[in-house]
């Protein structure tokens, strides 16, 4: 049986990984970008939510799959060597009356079966989080909350899925869906037709377009923008826990976290954009000011503003009524939507994948699947900087590239980068891009933001892929590092004058 998954974000990649556990499937994972996870999955708060924020009556799937996803990520991040940590989360009641809101979420936690959630008073709150606003009344404490390196997630999932037989097609954009007699037959792409008995739509912000190609056009996905600040990894003070505030009817406020590279991060905003603004990941003055203002209410103190090393914005795919559109259809048979996967989408992705494979494919569509006798759950990677010294010595002896530190802010070596390039090639990536390596390593994301190391990285990519330096791209075609060799413009002038 042939399966096409449209979109290699964290949802599509998770589905590919879960499906790769079964025999007799030819799985094609299609991605329009140069790499997996370059859209929605890359830029978010990266929280693995506990699962007590969704009302099971209003959002049954969100409520159910978030709690399950939280558990699954605990296992998956280990299997796939995705950096993760589990600091727990405090929903802070800034004012006394906010404790009532916290109580409401405690109730949801009970109904959703979230372990360990309880109310804490002012004194315990300050013990759990010394940098919280000292005037806060108390908080709801959810110890199962985690954080992960979300840019690494989709690439790691795909690497593992490919290891288990999935075929990855980057820079492959779906332009149409072929349906005959009410059944899907395959997808048209910029690289030709791919046959399919099952098509799973995990196209993120574009899931409405893909769904419409299959004739299911009752919904639209609009982008919701979230803007963030990231501080340098030595900017103090930080927070020990994931901190946010009790939501109000007007705003959910913002999160304050210490992200996986150990820098404080604050955000996001939640600005609804028109449906067509699906690429607008620009930051705005207003949005960033909002983030700063709300973060300040939440903590005792933020690091000075001049310690900010990055601002960014990401888009979340927002379905019409907040409900995920996860379903298999009778007409066309074989088409499955995983659309509008807004928050808690990252957390739930593994659970969504299991839901689709177990309850939709095997359940609703009644397709019998058999587990493989051998399936490799592991993606083993290492970082030079985290190894014990003897191991480092050994690696340098094997390959001196491990002794060349390319990114000084994050201590990433040429050997680490060569490993990544090797894995990218193996995974089937056509364009080894600067961002592809950044997502997998954190290079160019430290204090210098690439002003020192980007050219060194570009030189390595040029050498390893045999292209001129200027043709190395940030993230695929149209984002080249340069426009030609140093004399390209003068030669053009000479030529023009001669004509």
């Amino acid at each position: 049986m042939k399966v096409v998954i449209v979109g290699a974000g964290v949802v599509g990649s998770s589905i590919a990984r879960v499906l790769s556990q079964y025999e007799g499937l030819e799985i094609h994972l299609l991605e329009k970008n140069a790499d997996a996870g370059m859209g929605v999955s890359k830029a978010n708060t990266a929280i693995i939510h506990p699962g007590h924020e969704d009302d099971p009556d209003k959002y049954p799937l969100r409520a159910k799959l978030c709690v399950k996803g939280n558990r699954l990520w605990y296992q998956w991040t280990k299997e796939l060597s995705i950096p993760a940590k589990w600091p727990g989360e405090l929903m802070v009641a800034v004012e006394e009356e906010d404790m009532k809101v916290a109580e409401h979420y405690l109730e949801l936690a009970q109904r959703n079966g979230v372990p360990g959630v309880r109310l804490v008073d002012h004194d315990e709150l300050l013990q759990l989080e010394p940098n919280v606003n000292p005037n806060a009344a108390g908080a709801l404490w959810a110890p199962t909350a985690g954080l992960m390196s979300s840019p690494m997630a989709a690439p790691a999932l795909v690497e593992n899925a490919v290891e288990n037989g999935v075929r990855f097609h980057p820079e492959t954009e779906v332009t149409g869906i072929k349906i005959e007699k009410g059944e899907v037959k395959g997808v048209e792409t910029n690289r030709g037709f791919i046959e399919a008995d099952l098509i799973i739509n995990a196209a993120g912000l574009y899931a409405d377009k893909i769904s419409a190609m299959a004739g299911i056009d009752y919904f639209t996905i609009h982008p919701r923008k979230g803007e963030y600040y990231v501080f340098d990894d030595d900017a103090e003070p930080k927070v020990t826990r994931i901190v946010h505030q009790t939501p109000t009817p007007i705003t959910k406020g913002v999160y304050v976290i210490t992200e996986m590279n150990n820098g404080l991060m604050i955000g996001p905003t939640a600005q609804d954009l028109p449906e067509e603004a699906k690429e607008d990941t620009s930051t705005t003055k207003e949005g960033l000011e909002f983030v700063w203002e709300w973060a300040q209410k939440l903590v005792r103190e933020l690091p000075p503003r001049n310690r900010v090393i990055r601002t960014f914005a990401g888009l979340r795919p927002e379905p019409p009524d907040g409900r995920w559109i996860i379903d298999a259809y009778d007409d066309p048979w074989g088409f499955i939507n995983a659309a509008g996967i807004r928050s808690p989408g990252l957390t739930s992705a593994p659970a969504i994948a299991h839901y689709i494979v177990e309850e939709l494919i095997q359940g609703k569509l009644d397709i019998k699947l058999t587990r493989k006798s051998h399936w490799n759950p592991y993606r083993r990677v290492f970082w030079f900087k985290t190894l014990p010294e003897e191991k480092q010595e050994e690696l340098i002896k094997q390959n001196p590239a491990y002794g060349r530190v390319i990114c000084m802010c994050r201590t990433i070596t040429e050997g680490d980068i060569l490993d990544i390039i090797g894995r990218m090639k193996k995974m089937g990536i056509r364009t080894i891009s600067l961002d592809g390596i950044k997502m997998r390593s954190g290079v160019m994301s430290g204090t210098c933001q690439g002003s020192y190391c980007r050219i060194r990285l570009a030189n390595i990519i040029a050498r390893e892929t045999g292209i001129p330096l200027w043709k190395v791209t940030q993230k695929g075609e149209g984002t080249e590092y340069g426009i030609g060799d140093i004399k390209v413009l003068l030669r053009e002038e000479v030529k023009e004058n001669a004509e």
């Binding site: 210098c448 002003s451 050219i455 075609e477 590092y481």
Partner: protein
């Protein structure tokens, strides 16, 4: 392999090379460590002249300047490692530091009596200067653009907007123009240009490049690559004035918005930082607050001229020599150098009357016909003008320093 040294110099640019040469001349056992695959630091990519007027009394290009120093360094047979990165400096005792160095030949554990930190500066990037908008291709720091063009021989773009009118920005405006690109504008936040008059004339006026004073690039727009920038006037507090936005179409943004000392490793070793210079607090031996760790060049304070950088490298070497020879600097009565009227930064922070001291300072705002005064020691120097972009360099005699109590103030006052 030997692993004990009198001095380990970190950084193979002009400050580090000069420090290593001087250390060797003073008879110290010295090792130099450089992160990149070649020695020379930033001047290797500076093809323009204006280097060496003080130090060699000749007008050289950056490349020529550094090769003179480099030749001397290599001729002296000083030990060095390229492709080597110091990950840690641990103050082991008052007299020794342990350094962990990752190199492509293995991991080195070094014991050094003194360390001279000369790692230079990093460039401020778009997120530090409040630029919002799209994070697309076509945005470079000036140094990165210079490396691309003048080392690796590739052209970053065609329609260029440069942010910052310091010498770096002006020189890049000329470099881009010479190679056939169109520099649409240089945008300067301050109400006056940041660079030397000579560079305003020869880099901008020669080519008719417009300079926008009191303007900021507030936003970058583009889908995959830069398509335009939004520039905005700023008020006297340097805040954007709403309603003054203007669009400039371009495919490339070059950020020459200033440098910051790059100090990751010694910050972890406990060195105290001066918020004004963003470099370490030092005494007149250029020793930081961690005994035996010295600092020089742009890691100490952002300099205008490579000549000063070299001078500081030599000074730090002399400090290291004192430290190594005597097992530490002598117990001294330090006088604090205090910033007075119109003085924004001042290095070193503490001086003693054991030797003459070169001090480096910058003013807050431009002024004409002024006196630089040191009231506690009765010293006065008349200057026709002062500008924030031009470092003031004055030698204080030890006999003068001896006159002061516990502090020496430097102030810039109108000359009446």
């Amino acid at each position: 392999m030997q692993n004990e040294y009198d001095v380990v110099v970190i950084g193979g640019g002009p400050a580090g090379l000069a420090a290593a040469i001087k250390s060797k001349e003073l008879g110290l056992n010295v090792l130099l460590i450089e992160n990149r695959e070649f020695l020379g630091g930033i001047p290797i990519q500076c093809v323009h002249p204006g280097f060496g007027l003080h130090y060699f009394r000749e007008d050289l290009t950056g490349t020529e300047f550094i090769h003179r120093i480099l030749k001397k360094f290599l001729d002296m047979g000083i030990e060095y490692h390229t492709n080597a990165h110091v990950t840690e400096i641990i103050p082991h005792s008052y007299r020794h530091k342990i350094l962990k160095v990752v190199t492509d030949k293995g991991i080195l554990k070094l014991m050094a009596k003194a360390v001279i930190y000369a790692t230079g500066a990093r460039e401020r990037h778009m997120f530090e200067i409040g630029i919002t908008g799209h994070r697309v291709a076509g945005i470079y720091t000036a140094g990165e653009a210079q490396t691309m063009m003048d080392i690796y021989g590739i052209m970053p773009g065609k329609e260029i907007v440069i942010v910052g009118s310091g010498d770096v920005g002006l020189i890049m405006a000329r470099r881009f123009t010479l190679e056939g690109a169109h520099v649409k504008a240089v945008i300067e936040l301050m109400p006056y240009p940041g660079g030397l008059t000579r560079n305003i004339v020869q880099c901008l006026e020669d080519f008719g490049i417009p300079l926008y004073l009191s303007h900021a690039v507030t936003r970058v727009e583009g889908k995959k690559r830069v398509e335009k920038v939004i520039i905005t006037k700023v008020d006297e507090n340097l805040r954007p004035v709403p309603g003054t936005e203007e669009e400039l179409e371009c495919d490339t943004v070059v950020l020459a918005a200033g440098l910051v000392p790059y100090l990751k490793v010694i910050e972890k070793a406990g060195v105290i930082i001066d918020p004004a210079t963003k470099g370490p607090v030092v005494n007149s031996y250029l020793e930081t607050s961690v005994p035996g760790i010295f600092v020089a060049g742009n890691a100490l304070v952002i300099n205008d001229l490579v000549d000063y950088v070299v001078e500081q490298g030599e000074e730090a070497a002399m400090g290291a020599y004192e430290f190594v020879r005597n097992g530490g600097l002598p117990a001294l009565r330090w006088r604090k150098l205090v910033k007075g009227r119109n003085v924004r930064l001042l290095v070193p922070h503490y001086v003693s009357d054991t030797k003459d001291v070169m001090i480096y300072a910058r003013v807050k705002k431009p002024e004409e016909n002024v006196k630089v005064r040191f009231p506690e020691i009765g010293k006065e120097i008349r200057l026709p003008f002062v500008k924030p972009s031009e470092m003031i360099r004055i030698k204080l005699r030890k006999t003068d320093i001896a006159k002061a109590g516990d502090k020496i103030t430097m102030e810039v006052v109108p000359n009446e």
